[in-house]
Symmetry: C2
Subunit: 273 residues, 2 copies
Amino acid sequence: MKRTVFFISDGTGITAEALGDSLLAQFEEIEFEKITLPYINTHEKALEAVQSITAAGVNDGLRPILIDTIVNDEIRQILNTCDTLKIDIFSTFIKPLEHEFATKSSYSVGKSHAIVESDRYKDRINSINFALDNDDGARTKQYNEADIILLGVSRCGKTPTCLYMALQFGIRAANYPLTEDDLENNGLPACLEPYKDKLYGLTIDPFQLTAIRHERRPNSRYSSLNQCDTEIRFVERLFASQKISFINTTTFSIEEISTRIMAAKGLQRSLNH
Amino acid sequence: MKRTVFFISDGTGITAEALGDSLLAQFEEIEFEKITLPYINTHEKALEAVQSITAAGVNDGLRPILIDTIVNDEIRQILNTCDTLKIDIFSTFIKPLEHEFATKSSYSVGKSHAIVESDRYKDRINSINFALDNDDGARTKQYNEADIILLGVSRCGKTPTCLYMALQFGIRAANYPLTEDDLENNGLPACLEPYKDKLYGLTIDPFQLTAIRHERRPNSRYSSLNQCDTEIRFVERLFASQKISFINTTTFSIEEISTRIMAAKGLQRSLNH
């Protein structure tokens, strides 16, 4: 049984997708076809959306699900002409909030965004630049400015995690790759000593690591299971001896790795707002 | 009037934040203090959350707002003991979906994630590596594998946009910086000619560009308003003469720039799901 789901927004559609995905994940046995229609912000686009929705309903023989964050009332009414199950975020939740705050909502998407966005934008850009400048141990001079410094062997997930923290939360995240040289010395690299409170370790299942490394350098010593296994043992011993908290990234998404580390280190998620 | 808002989740909290932020943005005149409590997945953590919520209510003299994506019923009931206005996403929307699908939801967070995540993870990692390898014109040999190639002057937003597309949607996005040399030639750089259908331009207000560049290289020719203005004129003329669609990034968030470009180029957002 296939069901078509439309995520519809007069903005990016990212909120509708995030909410919709968490709801639909609760229905494992159903196959969903998911279609995002962002920037439905004119009469014409709304009518086009109605056509797509209607066509999907005819095609499936079952009415589509519509998950929307449309704020504009005219657009909403056009979409309401379709036969769908509506998960209507604004009309459901704005009323109780208006009542609670004893005020009317501005009810016009993006209106108040401009100023906040400009600050947020700058912070995020600076954090992304910081992550890129301080990726893979390229530089260690800026570690005093870092919110966090991730440690781990090559290809364990450091760079994506740093970039996600920067983009989503404006966190200044550096990362330092633990190489064989570091691991043989058995102590912490000297450049990290002054920043022990900023360190957080990543580890990963050796089988997954070997698979990831094979994609980059097939059939090399670097990607061999033996090498991966040795490095992971070393690195986990180092984390233990230096009392560095760490997370095993094997089964986690980038979002989970990032937010778990931030929670563990007490890093604020201020930029999200 | 300050109101405290809690975003509570047994997972990352990102969905609750996204939904909550779009709702609260509709109430411009109210000052919100926003607190995210992720991974509230045990009895003990739920009781700690109750303490924080209760304390905020006493402190504000007004009950807090609770926006949650808690799925576990026991945890939910513990949180329900607080006096709050609840924006309860699952209990509101799961029921109508269960009725529509004539089935019970699995109602246990993250259960079905593992397999999908592993594919998604690999795609995202590969896309991030692609973005990093093909950042700032560093390489042009892989352009045949690109989903999109962004063009623009230095510091107009190319890199953050490419990284966001990779992280959020698994898009392979390269970017090419248009330098003075390119602009003086007045034509398209030769390495871009074969990929005209993948090109998309970025432009930006010269005043904003000069401000951004000043942070990187203060009081340089590079960051002068005159230089920024000249480059932007050139680049917009190039986009026009080569019939390359473009977006002005000045007032948009990274999410908006990315999703608008993807919509314009018809790029699928499959990875989001």
